[in-house]
Amino acid sequence: MPIRIAMIEDDQPFARTLQQYFELMPAVTCEAVFPSAEEALLGVPSLAPEVLLVDINLPQKSGIEFVDEIVQQCPGILCLMLTMYEESPLIFDALKAGACGYLLKRTPPQEIVTAIEEAKAGGSPMTPQIARRVVGFFQGEQPRPVAASPPDDTLALAEREREVLDLLTQGYLYKEIADSLQLSVHTVNTYVRRIYEKLQVRSRSQAVAKYRGFAE
């Protein structure tokens, strides 16, 4: 059973080429290519693919905004950012919005397929740079109690998650983290996935709180 995916990509020649490649791959089947976020928001819910490859730099609404909206419309949908950009802030924002991973366009297509498979299997890639931003986010945002949403322990990082994050910031690979914490790579992935989820919930609740703060 191939993984059903869709692409949101405005660069048609690239999208077509990649689509041709996916056709050769039995592991995935690309069911649609949307040239813009707006079209994708209309088409994706009915199509209900398992994994979305989302470009960040889209004509109108950006890929990050798209992710933010689509994960709320279709909970459980997996978004992988497929971007030209290496820049940590963008990637971090995408993760905060609800993406579960990201890929660079120059990644060999074989690895893109592997990443899709990993994402489907619950994998959550995180580089040291992103990890540091996550740490900074949780540290920096912590002392700001939000009136609308009282401090929620579920939104704070658990000790294990913190340990994992700490090793990630220092450049440890998942396997090395698993070894040093005596866990399986799968568990490390789960921790990271949870960290992402908290990041998303947290950033979303903060956005709401900010909105309310303005409204009041």
Partner: protein
């Protein structure tokens, strides 16, 4: 005694010789002698033995002459020429009187002339007071008599001839009588004024000795010892005084007769219930006087108004023969007048103050001395208060000059010196303002200063406005440039990058075809790798030029990314010790690009030469220096660093130096190498 008097008269009559005597014409009016006495021949100007007024010696006679014109009070000289044919034809005893009667006659009121000097070329004067007595054998005798006339307006002269018991027979013949007015030569207005004494004086003394102009003649009371004694000088009319000079007469046996004096001035005839206008009591009471002492008393020395007609001189102690006084001199205030100020030969209008235009080079002052009797000219001096304040002698021309007087307020003063060599107290005082050129006027200066400030402010404002505009334009340009950079970066990245990426995917698609030969597949592999390299290189270049990455945080992130993407494929572990947050600092594209190149060179060196399995990347910010350490666990630096490695280090150093940074490589104590980059932000 006679010689002494004449000598003293010569000394006292200072300046007399400087002025010529003025003849006073005499006209015969009336005489008691008979018509045959030829009275009129006494004044007919003919000096011959047969021509003259015949005056019988047996009886008293008098003759009256009119003075033409009338004469003011002052010194006078009579010359009696007795040139009769016989011997000793002179008057044995006679007297001279004067009158101010408009029509002098024998019946007019006559005042005796006070004689101060006499001389004869033949015979001599035995005594002069009250009448002149002549002695000796003469043939042609000329008798000269000097006197002081106290009346203001002398219209006539009377000669009286007296009868002596031992009178010679016959008649005396006055061949010719001449009268001359002698210059006063002094500003002493008391000279010749009538003097009275309250009590009897010593024998042969007359009160007039005090005003006879002779220091040798003096007077003092005889008998009365107390302060009730006084001398009284009638100055003929009320006068404003400058000073009073008293001359004493010392005698070795009595040195205390010129002390403890008192002066009183009255404008009415003194008497009971007539208050003094001014009183001076000598402060140096009890002291003995110096021989020849002169007391100069000024208005301020006493109390009251320094004016009056009658001057009383008395004493405050009871000592016999006191006061003993030789001369009393009274000086009226004389002040120069009619100041004319000449500025470079232009006479300035009078004013208080006189305003002197700015920038005058030569300033002249001319004053006029009030007219004094007999054309007396007094010494003058002047000064400019505010410019040295020193008195300077004024030349007789009366014009004095001052050069290059700076702007300011001055007081011009001029004084005269009286004939007793005392300076007049009062002076001519005229304030003088030398105007400043307009540019030295404080208001003008203020205006100029304000104008200057205004201009400077205007210039500064204009300048700053321009600079602001320029800065704004620069900022806009730089922003424009920045936007342009971003656009080019995005375009390159999105378009060229996407195409290259597409190329790599297309390569994969192509490679899937099974009909490819081994060689073609290998070539294809190479193509794919080149395309990926190109994407990587493009990525780096775009990262560097993209202004969005001009932050320290982005630089740090990118260094980590570059290290991990370079080392991971080579199975070298990368450990990172990097701060979570960074300060907001801008790092320009040039700096980031050069630093990135140096950093990648450092990574390459590690891979090529160190043989390391783990690399630790340490980043920290030591404001304002970004410190990047690349530690490896390899073999460390060789003893003599040379060859490729040296070149690498040199390259890194050069790249960093280009952006103001340094690069240090050293072997770590625990083995391995540390390459430390330091980049000031």
């Amino acid at each position: 005694m006679l010689f002494l008097r004449q000598l003293l008269a010569a000394v006292c009559g200072l300046g007399c010789s400087a002025f010529a005597a003025t003849p006073v014409k005499l006209e015969a009016v009336a005489a008691t002698t008979s018509e045959q006495s030829h009275f009129a021949e006494a004044v007919d100007g003919i000096l011959s033995p047969a021509n003259g007024w015949q005056v019988p010696r047996s009886t008293e006679h008098a003759g009256v002459f009119r003075c033409v014109p009338a004469m003011a009070a002052g010194r006078v000289r009579f010359i009696f020429s007795f040139h009769g044919a016989g011997k000793n034809s002179y008057f044995s005893e006679f007297s001279i009187s004067t009158t101010s009667d408009p029509n002098p006659s024998l019946e007019s009121r006559w005042v005796p002339l006070f004689l101060t000097g006499w001389d004869a070329n033949q015979g001599w004067v035995g005594e002069a007071r009250p009448n002149v007595r002549m002695l000796g054998d003469t043939s042609k005798s000329d008798l000269q008599l000097d006197g002081l006339i106290s009346q203001e307006h002398i219209t006539g002269v009377r000669i009286q001839s007296w009868v002596l018991p031992s009178a010679r027979p016959g008649a005396a013949v006055l061949t010719e009588l001449k009268m001359e007015r002698m210059p006063m030569g002094t500003t002493n207005v008391a000279l010749g004024c009538p003097v009275t004494a309250s009590h009897a004086l010593a024998p042969n003394q007359q009160p007039e000795f005090l005003t006879d102009g002779l220091v040798g003649s003096f007077a003092y009371p005889d008998g009365v010892r107390g302060p009730e004694f006084y001398f009284e000088v009638d100055l003929r009319h009320v006068r404003e005084f400058d000073h009073i000079t008293l001359r004493g007469r010392s005698e070795a046996s009595a040195m205390n007769r010129f002390t403890n004096l008192r002066l009183d001035l009255y404008d009415e005839m003194p008497g009971e219930n007539v208050p003094a206008l001014w009183t001076w009591v000598e402060e140096r009471a009890g002291e003995v006087q110096e021989p020849g002492e002169v007391k100069v008393v000024r208005g301020a020395d006493g109390e009251g108004t320094f004016r009056g007609r009658w001057l009383r001189i008395s004493k405050t102690v009871t000592i016999s023969h006191t006061p003993q006084i030789a001369e009393v001199e009274v000086y009226e205030s004389v002040v120069p007048q009619d100041l004319k100020v000449l500025a470079d030969d232009l006479v300035l209008p009078q004013g208080d103050p006189v305003r002197v235009p700015p920038e005058v080079r030569r300033l002249g002052f001319s004053t006029v001395q009030p007219e004094l009797p007999d054309g007396l000219v007094l010494e003058r001096r002047w000064r400019l208060a505010g410019m040295g304040d020193k008195w300077l002698p004024a030349p007789n021309t009366g014009l004095i000059e001052s050069f290059g007087l700076p702007a300011g307020e001055y007081l011009f003063e001029a004084q005269v010196r009286h004939s007793d060599r005392e300076w007049n107290s009062a002076s001519l005082r005229v304030p003088l303002t030398v105007l400043a050129p307009w540019w030295e006027n404080p208001w003008a200066r203020l205006a100029v200063a304000l104008a200057a400030v205004g201009i400077v402010a205007l210039l500064a404002w204009n300048f700053s406005r321009r600079r602001l505009a320029r800065q704004l334009a620069e900022m806009e340009r730089s922003q424009e440039l920045s936007r342009e950079r971003a656009r080019i970066a995005r375009d390159m990245h999105d378009v060229v990058g996407a195409r290259l990426t597409q190329l790599t995917v297309m390569h994969e698609l192509f490679a899937r075809q099974e009909s490819l030969t081994q060689t073609t597949r290998a070539r294809l592999q190479e193509l794919g790798a080149t395309a990926r390299d190109a994407v990587g290189a493009l990525d780096e270049a775009v990262w560097a030029v993209n202004p969005r990455n001009d932050t320290l945080q982005n630089l740090a992130d990118y260094l980590c990314h570059a290290a991990s993407s370079y080392l991971r494929p080579l199975d070298i572990r990368l450990r990172q010790q990097v701060p979570v947050t960074w300060p907001e600092r801008e790092v320009g594209a040039q700096k980031r690009h050069q630093f990135l190149l140096a950093f990648k060179e450092g990574l390459q060196n590690v891979v090529k030469h160190a043989g390391a399995t783990t690399v630790t990347l340490i980043l920290r910010f030591e404001d304002p220096v970004l410190v990047v350490c690349l530690d490896d666990n390899g073999c460390g630096l060789p003893k003599d660093t040379d060859g490729m490695e040296k070149d690498g280090l040199d390259n890194m150093g050069a790249r960093l130096a280009a952006v103001g940074g340094v690069c240090i490589a050293k072997t770590l104590a625990e083995g391995g190498t540390r390459v430390e980059f330091r980049l000031p932000i």
